[in-house]
């Protein structure tokens, strides 16, 4: 059992390192461009937030750091759940090695995504905190755990949707649409306190809302979430994890990679 686990960890780390080496490999400063891509994707949002000062702003929550702490976990989550089947298809040649499974490919590439977004998160929040005079996060371990939860949620949701994509390839086009609304309903731009309290019960089922709320609570001294529950996030992760792994196993045996 330990031997198998070790083999799986070896495969995940090998795939992750290879993916990192191949990111923009044809360009000079290859991996730095991957970081730049992630920076660009959130840079636009920060600009909008700063230009429209006061739009969705809350007292004590500095706009640039506020957007970064919400948008980076969200973008990481979106990129992961959306691209699972494509990732397996792109790397399916690696399945010719005994011991390499589609799950290793998913986790290996997801680990590379986590590294990229983790580095960008660390760099950008350090810079914006210094510019805006935001003090050190109130609960750093909480910030790390919430960031990891967003990552795991993306991986598991990707595994859940993967069989559907194989059965009906255009499925993602329909699924993506409601998820775009998530950008506005998951505490990325607006905190739940900016919505009337009578709509809260219709929003709190969303685990990414809890992630966004908890992230700001653990980061900013001036914000305490009225709804964010760490236990709910853990419960969702366990449920999604079990379902995702089950469906991945089904897809591996029954549905060919398309």
């Amino acid at each position: 059992m330990l031997k198998l686990l070790q083999a799986q960890l070896n495969a995940i780390s090998a795939i992750s390192i290879r993916e990192m080496q191949l990111q923009q490999a044809t360009l000079m400063y290859g991996y730095a461009w991957a970081l730049f891509d992630a920076l660009l994707s959130v840079g636009g949002l920060v600009l909008i937030k700063v230009l429209l000062k006061g739009f969705g702003g809350m007292p004590g929550l500095q706009p640039m750091t506020f957007v970064l702490t919400g948008a980076l976990p969200w973008f990481m989550f979106s990129g992961l759940w959306h691209g699972t089947n494509g990732t397996i298809k792109k790397h399916q040649k690696l399945l010719s090695f005994p011991g390499v499974t589609p799950l290793d490919i998913v986790f290996g590439t997801a680990l590379q995504t986590l590294t990229t977004y983790g580095v960008v998160f660390l760099l950008t929040t350090t810079v914006t905190s210094a510019i805006e005079g935001v003090p050190f996060p109130r609960f750093p371990m909480g910030v790390i755990l919430v960031f990891l939860s967003a990552w795991l949620m993306g991986v598991f949701l990707g595994l859940i949707f993967m069989p559907l994509t194989r059965l009906y390839p255009p499925a993602m086009k329909f699924i993506s649409f409601p998820f775009r609304l998530g950008l506005f309903l998951s505490s990325v731009f607006f905190m739940i306190t900016e919505f009337p309290s009578y709509v809260w019960p219709y929003m709190v089922w969303n685990p990414m809302l809890h992630v966004g709320e908890l992230m700001r609570t653990y980061w900013f001294q001036a914000y305490n979430t009225p709804v964010g529950r760490p236990l709910y996030v853990v419960e969702c992760l366990m449920g999604m994890g079990a379902l995702g792994l089950l469906l991945e196993r089904y897809a591996r045996r029954r549905l060919p990679i398309v």
Binding site: A14, R18, Q21, F97, P98, G99
Partner: protein, 254 residues
């Protein structure tokens, strides 16, 4: 016992049609045996190798493996042409958790392409790729080595060295060679499985297996020739019928 198949069945889909590659197959490969698998083109040799190493799952039956089994050698599809030879080797090194720092150099020495170690694969001569895939497989420490089609690259410059390496590295280990070339099996194996129409027949003597395979191929060729002749006859007859129909239509029109 190292690998054993119990009532294994495998169906594959080609161009929308289902083909039964293996039907209720029972076989076992000991970890010090040198076994050949002889089969015609598209008979399922590579699929059988994939089933042995575990990269493919059977539709029915059970496959038990006790030992560390190689991938079907040579395996080239994972190589990244824009990466150096050393980086490609390092990937496999990490995949199998090999801690030895000089592993890429060892593989390059084994394959005889040390001067290309830090060169991008796409800038290397074509023979280097063949040497790399062979050396990478044979340079790993497996209990059973699987070879697809040939043992070693077909190029003359490397053939002798490849045979020498094969003998040296696989001594006391298991070897499975799947090929449609009887000479490959005769040169490297002690017993043979002949794969025909989803059925696997075992021969302790390679010569018996090879002659059985040759008879099968001869029969298949004759069958194909007869089928082609029959088709040509049908087309000829069809052509006459069409001509007759055309004449009738012409007569009616007149």
């Amino acid at each position: 016992m190292s690998v054993s198949f119990q009532n294994v069945g495998k169906v594959v889909h080609r161009a929308g049609r289902a083909y039964e590659l293996l039907h209720d197959t029972n076989l076992c490969v000991e970890n010090d045996a040198r076994v050949g698998i002889l089969g015609g083109p598209k008979s399922g040799k590579t699929t059988l190798l994939r089933l042995i190493c575990g990269t493919e799952t059977p539709d029915t039956g059970i496959i038990k493996r006790d030992d560390n089994i190689s991938w079907p050698i040579p395996l080239a599809n994972f190589l990244v042409n824009t990466s150096s030879v050393a980086l490609n080797i390092r990937f496999v090194q990490r995949l199998y958790g090999i801690k030895h720092k000089d592993f890429p150099r060892q593989i390059a020495e084994l394959g005889g392409f040390l001067e290309f170690l830090n060169v991008e694969l796409q800038k290397c001569p074509p023979l280097v790729k063949a040497q790399l895939t062979f050396a990478l497989g044979i340079g790993m420490d497996f209990d059973i080595y699987l070879f697809d089609d040939r043992v070693g690259p077909p190029q003359k410059q490397f053939k002798e060295r490849a045979t020498e390496l094969f003998k040296c590295r696989t001594e006391g280990r298991g070897v499975v060679v799947a090929s449609s070339i009887p000479a490959e099996i005769e040169a490297h194996c002690d017993s043979v499985f002949v794969l025909d129409d989803g059925r696997v027949t075992h021969f302790d003597d390679v010569k018996d297996g090879v002659s059985h395979f040759k008879n099968l191929m001869k029969a298949a060729n004759e069958k194909q020739k007869n089928a082609e002749e029959a088709k040509e006859d049908d087309e000829g007859a069809g052509g006459t019928e069409e001509a007759a129909d055309g004449m009738e239509e012409l007569a009616a029109a007149l």
